[in-house]
Amino acid sequence: MPVFSPELIKIIEGFLNRYETKRSSILPILHAIQDEKDWISDEDVDTLEKSFGLSAVDVREVLTFYTMYRQQPPKPYRFEVCKSISCWLMGANDTIKTLRLEIEKAEKEGRPLPFEIHGVECLGQCGYAPSTLINKDRHNNVTSEKALQLLKEYSAKELPNAAVHCAAALAAKANK
């Protein structure tokens, strides 16, 4: 399996020429890699240095500073619940607790759900609290009840492409 698909290479090359300096393209490139592969591996960083001339040190600086970049293979869905002041006042902690309990329960019953639950800092939707993101989808006013509904809804969906890609790459690596 090639490290980057031809489409991704085209996107990366586009970013490299889009800004005043090559270095400015690091953040957008890392977003693009995640969009395709769901996370950023050491191999990806090495490839950015060897094939695209971006210093691995510069890339790592960005990769480790910003919270949106994932350095481990994630589960298919990241359910992020805002826990900052406004959402907290509106019961975000209950939502997080309910979600964690449900995930735990499903795990025990041998039907693991494809979710990671994260309490995150302000998502900038304070008037529609509690605010959440499931991958890139925004869901607002997510009470415990609505959160459980969303778990069901997303579990019934086909897995996102990035998650499928991620699982296939991991399986290929394990077979080596």
Partner: protein
């Protein structure tokens, strides 16, 4: 989304809508709607074809009294005038890293009227002589990134962006840049670092960005709301703008209300509007008729005010500053009587400890300690010495760091520890 309803100074509600005139329109983001219903790109035409010089634009914005809407309230026209005149690379960056807890006005602007921002950016770029501008948007705003990118694309297609705009000889390019999850990038030099492809750590000032910013070139960083209102000011004139608001805080401002309030939302109000009238009448008061305990008036970095302190305040920079807090981003967070201020403090400090970039010791250590101690107290393990310790840590964090994140954590902590000391007592061991 609620509509502004009031008869402030005898004016009709519609007259308050400077920025959100397209609110409620089914196709608000479309460039045709903006042109047909919102006087769209008329201000740009006035500037580029009506013979306004860059100085004329700066003077008009100065005369309007517009103050930066990101939080600091620095006069926008004055900021532009700091950029060295003459040729050379210059940049304009829009700070759309909206991450101050309680604030969600800029994303609402991009939802309702992204072209106001694009047009305002072109005018501002003309005023400072910038050939290129960016909209730096926080990475979590997936929809907003798309809306802004679409608006830019439409503006290029209509000939408002690109080479030789409207035959004026002025060339300008615009792009969107997505952050990746860091509150500190809302600080202008942190934002510049991030746009340069580095970790978003703030830089020492001076030199200020207006002299040495993005890639060492003169750069102006403006908040979304400050730029989006510029077309209206140019089109209608500074005097029309000054008819709204107070003498020192002219114009309208977007206010966000959050917490357990009946009608939360993004409201456009003239500055100087009575705070409690806004909370109780326009926003419908607290959910379930609960009693108000405190208000955080300008985003989580603004020190909390007690309900009593709020009684006679008006929503303008001077009134809120006079009460010992700040208008900030206009994000009003209401705290009801049944919420413990000890847990409010713990929640706030958790945020700042997480978001400190780690560059300066007083902030990195101070935010961490404030969080740990408030958590300790909340668990019932604190003592009276911990209260003094928090106060002393907060004092040692003020004015000692490269940027104001440290102050933004210290000030609210000090306010809560001082004003609500009685609420801590039951938690303390003696």
């Amino acid at each position: 989304m609620p509509v502004i309803k009031n008869e402030y100074q005898g004016r009709k509600p519609d007259e308050f809508r400077i920025l959100l005139g397209l609110e409620g329109h089914s196709n608000a983001r479309n460039i045709q709607t903006y042109i047909e219903k919102g006087n769209g790109y008329k201000a740009l035409e006035k500037v580029l074809k009506g013979g306004m010089s860059p100085e004329d634009v700066i003077n008009t914005v100065k005369a309007s009294g517009l103050r930066g809407r990101g939080g600091a309230g620095f006069p926008t026209g004055l900021k532009w005038s700091f950029v060295p005149k003459g040729p050379g690379e210059k940049y304009l960056i829009t700070n759309f890293d909206e991450g101050e807890p309680g604030t969600y006005k800029d994303c609402y602007i991009s939802e309702v009227t992204p072209h106001s921002l694009v047009e305002g950016k072109i005018i501002a770029s003309y005023a400072i002589g910038a050939q290129k501008s960016y909209i730096y948007i926080r990475g979590e705003f997936h929809n907003e990134i798309r809306w802004c990118a679409e608006a830019i694309k439409e503006a290029y297609a209509a000939g408002y962006l690109g080479e030789n705009i409207m035959g004026s000889g002025f060339t300008h390019h615009m792009d969107v840049y997505s952050g990746a999850g860091a509150y500190i990038c809302g600080e202008e030099t942190g934002l510049i670092s991030s746009l340069e492809g580095k970790k978003g750590q703030p830089k020492l000032k001076p030199p200020f960005p207006a002299v040495k910013g993005y890639l060492g070139k003169p750069t102006v960083v403006n908040n979304v709301e400050s730029l989006a209102v510029v077309p209206w000011i140019i089109h209608n004139g500074p005097e029309a703008y000054k008819k709204f608001g107070t003498e020192k805080s002219p114009g309208t401002k977007l206010f966000n209300v959050s917490g357990p309030i009946a009608r939360p939302g993004c409201y456009e109000l003239p500055l100087g509007y009575p705070l409690m009238r806004f909370i109780n009448e326009d926003c419908g008061g607290l959910i379930g008729g609960k009693k108000l305990k405190a208000i955080i008036p300008g985003g989580s970095s603004a020190p909390a005010l007690t309900a009593k302190e709020c009684e006679n305040l008006t929503l303008d920079y001077e009134s809120i500053a006079g009460a010992g807090s700040m208008l900030g981003s206009g994000a009003i967070i209401v705290i009801p009587e049944d919420v413990s201020m000890v847990s409010v403090l713990e929640n706030l400090m958790d945020f700042y400890a997480h978001e400190s970039c780690g560059q300066c010791t007083p902030c990195r250590e101070g935010t961490g300690w404030l969080y740990k101690i408030s958590k300790h107290i909340l668990k019932g393990k604190g003592t009276k010495t911990d209260m003094d310790r928090m106060y002393s840590i907060a004092n040692n964090m003020r004015g000692k760091t490269i940027c104001v994140l440290s102050d933004a954590a210290a000030d609210p902590a000090r306010a809560i520890v001082t004003k609500f000391a009685h609420e801590f007592e039951p938690y303390l061991k003696g």
